[in-house]
Symmetry: C2
Subunit: 104 residues, 2 copies
Amino acid sequence: MIRVSVLYPGGEGKTFDHGYYVHKHMALVKEWLGSLGLRRLEVDKGVAGGAPGAPAPYTAVGHLYLDSVADFQSAMKPHGKELFADVPNFTNIQPQVQISEIIA
Amino acid sequence: MIRVSVLYPGGEGKTFDHGYYVHKHMALVKEWLGSLGLRRLEVDKGVAGGAPGAPAPYTAVGHLYLDSVADFQSAMKPHGKELFADVPNFTNIQPQVQISEIIA
């Protein structure tokens, strides 16, 4: 199983609409990738960092679970551009993408 | 439910022993936090970034799941120092910690 984490770093002047992200953007992800290998998805809202009083490094993180990197790549081929085009509708943050194998 | 993600950024000169991390470090986490509110844990091994050919931003990520931030803080009080003291046994990377509420 792989996890694709889309990480939105926080910082001064950064904005993020969690409602739009969960209810509209992730609904699109589910609709478009649900029949293309997406097993499930999760949404994180950052609440804190590790040190006492430290802010969360990431304001939000979306996690997509699929069987393989190949599945993710073929699911993104028809929909990736449109999904990234929706990002400015909920944030001015440039997301980072991490693709990982879940090994334990 | 909260997710505590411990993120190990990759980069030149960075080393990480995934075997030690999974079989020893995470075994300690389970042993010490299992009776203190830890619901489950997962380990990610970074395989790629978002752009074609891009490396994973993080070499490894450990995810701990608990009911609340308060549970995490009270679980870490007796064991946090020892857990962080084990980090140099498997990596020269300074980890980042992200505490998130799983909202969807």
